[in-house]
Structures are given as C-alpha cells and as structure tokens.
C-alpha cells in the first residue's frame, strides 16, 4: 500500500496506527527496506508541535506580525524546508523554534514538553542540547580557531577539557575539516566556514538541526556540499528544518512549507528523490 496524503493529516493517522513515511509516501506496518536511500520516518503524534504561534514586533507604534498564527507539526527525523519571500517571517519562526526568541503568544512543544514551561533555563537547555543552529553568515567567533569554536559549544555543554578536544576533532573530521582545525575563520573559505559551523551545531549531539539559509552565502558547488552534509545528518536520524530561497535545495526536503506574511501559505511534500 502506498498513498500520498497531505502532511497535515499525519498526526491523525499516526495516532491510531504506526505508519512510516518514506520519500513522502506513507507505507504500511513494517519499516521499509531501502533505509539508506530514503530514511523512513516513524510517524508519531508530533515531535515538534507548533500551535497558534505569534510574534509581534512593536516598531514605533506600528505592529509587525513577523509570525502570525502559525500551527505546524514536524515529525521526528523529518527534513523540512521552509521557503518564502524575504521578510515573510521565516527567520523569526526558526529563532522561536531554536529558543533564541520568545513568542508573543502560542505554544511550541518539543517531544511533548512546552518550550515556555522551563523559562529562561529551559530555553538554555533547549539551545544547548536539543537544537543545533546553522546561519547564513556562519556566525563563527573570529577570535577563535575552528576547533576552539567547536570546543566553546562543548564547554557550554559541560564537557571537560580533555574530552572537548577529542570530540571537537572528531566532529571536524565528520565535516571533512580535521586538517583545518587550527585555522581562524578568516583563513577559511565560505564553504569550509559553514562546515565548521555545522560541526559546532552538532557539538552537544542535538536531535534537531535548524538551518537559516545555510547555502545563502555560498556558490553552487559549496552549497551542494553543505546540503549533502545536512542530508547525511538527516540519514543519521536528525530532524532538519532548513530555510532556503533556492527551489532546488528545497526539493531535497521531505516537505516544503511556504510562508507568506507570517502565515503558512501551504505545505507540499517533495516527490523528488534526495541524492545522498
């Protein structure tokens, strides 16, 4: 049995029967075979649950609704692309999911836990262990070397100094930059810098990767390398939420969410097979 359904119906289906989503198609009771090629997602009620999320910026008596009543369900292990025009509220949404920002109203639940419930400390824990963020402008600390940037995230996570070195080096190796460990961000190409940023995002082994236009500042070749890296993280079982302008990039995701004026315009499953 293989059917195509609107993703908005997934939670309803999953609530009464275990189903798997493979390349955007719902499959029967058993986990599918070709797991490497297109990782299966065991549909749960919802891994990330967004309900009536609003973020209003007050800008000199004018209220800007950057995120305006967004409700979404993102499943464990899903690769989601968020697309939309500039200023439509994509980054604001991602920052809310990352716990960098607090919503004006609405709820974000991750694995059943309300992000707002833990308060400030809860958000720090969320940023530290639950999510890894990747930005368009890399956001590396220029005064530190590649490995020190990764180590800093590990230090915040409470990893002791000896383990930090080892883990950071392993992570850089994973993104293919072990030989550049002692280079400063200024000595790295854009693509390399973004790979360091990804290594850093993985420091405390988060199960969610939030990427805000990770290829926006890169040429096609480097962009594709980064995308491949994200896909590999996806295969490893991580939930990826990626903002992008590029339709080709969005196409590798299992679901594309279009945002306009702070609202979800529509959601479309991608039918293209991702190239791992």
């Amino acid at each position: 049995m293989s059917i195509v359904l609107s993703p908005s119906l997934y939670p309803a289906i999953a609530s009464f029967h275990p189903v798997y989503l493979v390349c955007g198609r719902l499959l029967g009771d058993d986990p599918p075979e070709n797991a490497d090629f297109c990782p299966p997602i065991r549909l749960s009620m919802s891994f990330i649950e967004i309900r009536n999320l609003k973020k209003i910026y007050r800008k000199s008596a004018v209220n800007v609704s950057a995120v305006n009543d967004v409700s979404l369900d993102i499943h464990r292990g899903e690769f989601v692309a968020i697309v939309g025009k500039s200023g439509s509220g994509k980054s604001t949404l991602l920052n809310l999911l990352g716990g960098l920002d607090t919503p004006t109203s609405g709820i974000i639940r991750v694995d059943g836990t309300d992000l707002a419930a833990g308060g400030r400390e809860g958000r720090v824990r969320h940023r530290r262990h639950r999510v890894g963020m990747v930005f368009q402008t890399f956001q590396l600390i220029t005064g530190l070397t590649a490995i020190e940037n990764v180590e800093l995230a590990l230090a915040f996570g409470g990893v002791n100094r000896k383990d930090r070195k080892r883990i950071a080096l392993a992570l850089l190796e994973q993104v293919g930059l072990a030989d550049r460990a002692d280079h400063r961000p200024t000595e790295l190409s854009g693509g390399e810098a973004q790979r360091v940023a990804i290594a850093r995002a993985l420091a405390n082994n988060p199960d969610i990767i939030l990427a805000d236009e990770p290829t926006g500042n890169l040429d096609t070749q480097n962009g594709e390398a980064i995308l491949a890296l994200l896909q590999r993280l996806h295969v490893q079982g991580r939930t990826i939420i990626m903002i992008t302008h590029d339709p080709d990039m969005a196409a590798v995701a299992q679901r594309i969410i279009r945002i306009q004026d702070g609202r979800v315009l529509d959601e479309t499953p991608s039918f293209q097979n991702p190239q791992v």
């Binding site: 920052n95 990352g98 960098l100 920002d101 400030r120 400390e121 720090v124 940023r127 530290r128 262990h129 963020m133 930005f135 402008t137 956001q139 590396l140 600390i141 005064g143 800093l152 995230a153 230090a155 915040f156 996570g157 409470g158 002791n160 100094r161 850093r200 995002a201 420091a203 405390n204």
Partner: protein
Amino acid sequence: MTTSDILRMAIHNLWRTRLRSSLTVLGVVIGIGALISMVAFGSGMEKNVTDAFMESGLFARITVSPLKLDMNRPVESLTDTSGVSVPLDDELLDRIRRIKGVKEAYGEIQQPAKVGLEGKETTLTYTGVDPAMGLKNSSAELIAGTFLTSDSMPQAVINTQLLRRLKIRLDTEDMAKAKEKDTAKVYTYVLPEDLIGDTLWLSTAVFNPMRMMGALMGNRDETPLSERRTPLIITGIRELEPDGPASRFGGDLLIPAGFASTIPSIGFNSITDFLRKGKSSPDKYAVIQVNVAGPEDITPVRAELESMGLNAFALAEQLKEVRRAFLAMKAVLGVVGFIALVVAGLGIINTLLMSILERTREIGIMKAIGGSEGQIKSVFFGEAAVIGLIGALGGIALGWLVTLAAGSFINMKIREMGETPMDLFYFPWWLLLGSIGFAIGLSLLAGLYPASRAARIDPVEALRWG
C-alpha cells in the same frame, strides 16, 4: 565551564585587544601602586616609632612623679601637698621596689640648667641618676667613654642630642660632605674620643635674698636670682635616635644623683618651696623610674602606684594612642590611593562596556550555541578579575619601585644633612594580600554592570550585527 576555562578565555580575550587591556591594567597598577606606597609610608613611619620604642626598653618603664596637678584647685591649695601626695624619697623607693612585678626602681633628680661646652651654650634639664643602675636604664648605647663611675664625683654623660643642640658634630666619615657644605662654619667638628675628659659647665640659677631686697626696692635691673657655675667632667657620650621616643626620656645630660643633690639650684620644686614660704620640699627626687619585669606588668603596677596617690606615666600605654594616630594617618593616605583606584575602576567599566559593544555578535553566538546568562556573565567577570589580578601584582611592583626610589632619594638627602638614614617605607603582609584582594574585588564590582548587560543582550538582535 570551569574557572580555569573562564580565566583562559579571559586572558585570550584581553590579549585580543592588548593595547586597550594594558592601558586599563595600567590604571589599576597606578591605583594600587599609589595606595600601597601611601599606606607603606604610613606603616613605615609607625614602624620606625614603635620599633625604636621597643628597642629602647621604655615599654617596660613607668615614670612616677609626685602629684597630679589639678588645675581647678586654687593656687594656694596647689602648694599644699600635704595629704595629697606621697613625698618622692628613699622610703617610697623601697615601697615601690616591693610591689609585685617591679624589677627595679630608682630616683632621678631633674633640674633646669644652662650648659656650656667648647664655647657654646644651650639650656636643658639635667638628670641625676644612680650610677649603680648603669647603662641598662639608659635608652641608648655609649659611643665613647664610660658610664658614670661614682655617685659623688662631678661627672657627666652626654648624648648626641645635646651635642646637636650645641651645634657640635661628631667628626665621622659620613660627615665629610656635610663639613664641606657648612661654609658658614655653624658647626664645630670634634672626634668623640676628644670630648671624653673635657669639662662641661653647668650653670644653675640660685635664689639670692640680697638681690630680692634690691628688686623689692624698685631696682628693675635686679632679679632675685643669680647664676652658679659647676664644672663637670664628661665620661661618656650616648648615641640617640634623632627623634625617637627615647630622646624624651633618660635625659640628655646624666650626672650622679649624689653629686646632683649638692648642686645649688632653683628649679620647679624650689619654686614650690619658695611659695610655701620656707617649708622645705619633702621630695628628694623629681621622678622615680620604675622598670617592670614584662609588658604585662605595666597596667597592674601603674594602677598600684596610682592607688598610692602618685602620678604614674607609662609610655607603653601611650603607644596605643600613637598607634591610633597612625591608623588615622594611614586611613587618610589610603583614601588618596582609594580615589586613584576608583578612577581605575571606572576605566575597567569603560573597557568592558566597549568590549561588550564590539563583541555583541559574539555574545549572540555564545547564546545561540548554548551559553547561559551565568556563563556569559562569568566570561566578563573573568576578564575583570584578570585585569584586577595583573593590576594588583603590577601595582605592588610599582609601589615597591616607587618607594625604593623615593626612599633612597630621601635617605641620600638625609645623609647629606649628616643624619642617619632610615627605612621610610614598610610593606606589612596584610597590605600586600589586602591590595590584591581589594583590586580583584574592585574589578569584579566594576565588572558587575557590564557583565549583567552582556548577559541580557538579545541574541536575535546580536546575531544581526554580523
């Protein structure tokens, strides 16, 4: 993050902006340097005074004098000491020697007089002492000759203080320069050995009834007093700290008590005698010096003496007052240094605020990758603490150098003036530890506002800075 992580990060961050960091540290260095050299000066002065005092043996001495002067009493009754005071005589001396805690006691005769030596003159109060008490009761060492040898001989032990007042200088190697400078020939230079055996003239005032008549008859030139000169042979010269507490005690001119009692004179006691219209003084001694066995005996012995109706003065008890005065002096000096440190503190605040402004994006990144407000605060506190620590160590070094330079300069001048050099500055351990603690405390205080400001930075805003 551990403390060592924070410190390593702090050093790393400070190194990134080393020019600015070192200027900020310099502010603390100057502040701490000023503070500790000021306090070291106060401590040095105090130490000079208390050390000289301790060495002099005066901490174990009580000086007993006949009566407490009560200024509220009418003059007539002031002269009537019967029943008020015990006479200072040998009987009292015996009683005092029997008090528990008293090691020894001896009487001193003190009279005002004029002395002449090498053709120069000055006035002083000479002291008649028991030669048997020897040097142990004098507050300084002999640099030439011997102590008094006989109770009845016209002998004298002088000290450098008296020589100074007579404008006589001991000719030593140190003096060569001063001698050259003394073009006006104000001073006479002599070898200490040459003074031994010299004659010192003691001029005392005596009451002359014949002249009294003349004065009463209206002859303005006549006073009822006349001068009597007594020759004394110098047996020894004592060295004395120029302004030490010892100079006020022991006397500049010591003569045998037995001989002193034969010198005709009119002193304070005699004036009292005169006012009493012929009743002779019951006091044999001007003062009785009491040496106690240990410092702890001072207070009980003094209380005992006072209960006997005597006036007992212990410098040891005055020392508390001296210490209190020095504490006030150090506090005033400390305030000056403190102001310098407050300025340094403002420098730290300024540096940290600037650094936060520059590193806003970095703070945003730290939050995005899991840094808590507490961790970000401690990063900036770490920087403040390192500034404070380096500043304190540098400040101690600076203070030490400054006091070393100032000390040797001042001592050079002192030597030129022919005086003995001294340690002007003193660094007690509490000053060094205290200034380190204080500098770090102040730096952390200065870091308080910048750190909390850094921690409150909105990461979303901060990340846009890139």
